[in-house]
Subunit: 339 residues, 2 copies
DNA sequence: CTGTTAGCGCCTTCAA
DNA sequence: TTGAAGGCGCTAACAG
């Protein structure tokens, strides 16, 4: 492997000049830059990552923190897609992407501690956001920068930069979509309000319903035990027999609900994962564009050292993908749910 | 952050002695080792990753290569779970885990090239195995070590070390499970035979069927377009009306099939993901233990520099998880598929 | 604008 | 068994 000395020698300059050229230091003359650059090309030179990191006291790596696997969370392709986005941007900028994950909260914490202490990594991306997260506490204690995909939980200090869907608006949009299709008695189905996403989608739902002077029904159900869940949902529907539609906080949840309730029940869900296509009828769902969220998160993370840049939160627009799970009650003819 | 010089000073030894103690060099006397170790503890010393890497011309990182997102593949929690296993073992051994991924084959290749050239990473884990994989070609050209989760495709050189489920046996077991429940006319449903896993499961199926002198029916269906798939499957069943059961190469595929065929059709699938619990009736499925596969892969990858250790392939045992999707045709009373 | 020098933190000869 | 010295590859002062 060619080193910068080889390049310098071939270009007939000193290593420091070669280094300056490499890093785009404007002080270098055009011709010298040229010579160095062709030398690099000839030698197929690539700077050594570790050496550069050591010299710069940097590490050029972003660590991505996955949530602890809880129930079916890993069935959501969101994480891997966000990772794609993060990777694309990071590689562009010569950053490495490292992963922190764990089977338990404890293992995850150990992993993050390892990256902190051993790797001296100082840029993290949290792929989730939840209440009382010990990982966040750890990051704050160590005063390292982190970016959240999702709305960060409120803490003592200033909020970290984040990128998010406007889940409040998304919750409203889902609800309004149902209203526009003639539904009036609607329930919101969720699994876990410590996940801030779900909280917000629910809040959006409630806003619209309140505005319309309609009741905000909601039901928590984690579907760990099918039989039990079946009972709960059925009981709930007996209490509220007038319900014609559900907003579910995630596609998979929508799919599960679908297996319990009548095919006539309308459902709108979130994430637009493959699950929504698999469902039958296929689910009308709100796409949140995970790859873009990942890209944006990486961009924020890459600026984490420039305190000047007041890192404004980024909001990625969402989009309703209409499929066949919402019946139009306003239409004269009954809708055919073919697909 | 304390450096090794600080440690040395506090322990009253030279940096080189401290270094030797750190690395467990047996030449150091017990008392000296003691002194150095307590000094490290007192100072909360952690060696600097980049510095160590530079000095050792190593990088202490394992890069994990994800498949290109194709259809619904990221809905399979397999990858994230394998990642958990890899991370657990790697962290134990002070290795970092980096990620290579991409939205397209091209982007993935660029990412791998980046880790190769820039990061000088020389240990890779491939989370998939398929025919004609340009990533494999790239790795081989660069002569870096890699481990495959799954059966590696045959190449010019010697096979890389790998860890795998015995998918041939798993295919046989699934088939035998159906036979034991009285099924005789069985079809195998798959999406993509360039994925070697699917090939093998199918081969196992065929072995058993041939042995029983039963016909080996099989159907390829990727379910990209629901209506079209519906037609295909229906046509297939009309051609073979005697079929009572399917083996499907993955849970998600099982779920989709389930939405097309009668509830009376028996299905056994692979991966035991949450999807199999979500299905209705819930799917009898073969668990392949992704976390363990990940752990084993990491262990192999960690040995990639020791050519002495003839790295034997590791086979992780699989296990049938019985749920409610296979009817027992041998029983007198008809089975109730409650769940 | 460019070269010389020193050092990032650690490891490994070499000599004692 | 230990210390001194030099180097891994790159960069940033400091001169000129």
């Amino acid at each position: 492997m060619a080193t910068i000395r080889d390049v310098a020698r071939l270009a007939g300059v000193s290593p420091s000049t070669a280094s300056r050229a490499l890093r785009g230091n404007p002080v270098i003359s055009a011709k010298t830059r040229q010579r160095v650059e062709t030398a690099m090309r000839q030698l197929n030179y690539v700077p050594n990552f570790s050496a550069q990191n050591l010299a710069n006291n940097e590490n050029n790596t972003i660590a991505v923190i996955l949530p602890v696997d809880h129930h079916e969370i890993f069935t959501n392709p969101f994480f891997l897609q966000a990772l794609q986005g993060i990777n694309a941007k990071s590689t562009e900028r010569n950053f490495m992407v490292a992963i922190a994950t764990g089977i338990s909260q404890q293992q995850l914490l150990a992993n993050v501690e390892f990256m902190l202490a051993r790797g001296r990594i100082n840029r993290f991306i949290l792929l989730y956001s939840q209440l009382h997260d010990p990982v966040v506490t750890l990051l704050q204690q160590n005063q390292v920068g982190y970016v959240v995909i999702g709305k960060p939980m409120a803490t003592a200090g200033p909020l970290p930069p984040y990128i998010d869907t406007d889940n409040l608006a998304a919750g409203r949009d889902a609800t309004q979509f149902l209203l526009a299709h003639g539904h009036r008695q609607i329930a919101f189905l969720y699994t876990d309000l410590t996940k801030i996403v779900q909280q917000e989608r629910l809040a959006g739902f409630k806003q619209v319903m309140a505005q319309q002077q309609l009741p905000s029904l909601s039901l928590r159900e984690d579907f760990i035990d099918y039989t039990q869940s079946h009972q709960h949902v059925t009981a709930f529907l007996q209490q509220h027999p007038q319900i014609t539609a559900f907003v579910t906080s995630d596609d998979l949840l929508g799919l599960r609900l679908q297996q319990i309730v009548s095919k006539k029940m309308s459902i709108i869900s979130f994430n637009n994962s493959f699950t929504s296509q698999v469902a039958h009828p296929s689910l009308t769902s709100i796409d949140v564009f995970p790859v873009q969220l990942g890209e944006g998160a990486a961009e924020l993370a890459l600026q984490l050292d420039q305190p000047t840049a007041k890192l404004q939160p980024i909001i990625v627009p969402h989009q309703i993908v209409v499929r066949h799970s919402v019946r139009d009650l306003t239409a004269q003819t009954e809708e055919k749910n073919k697909n």
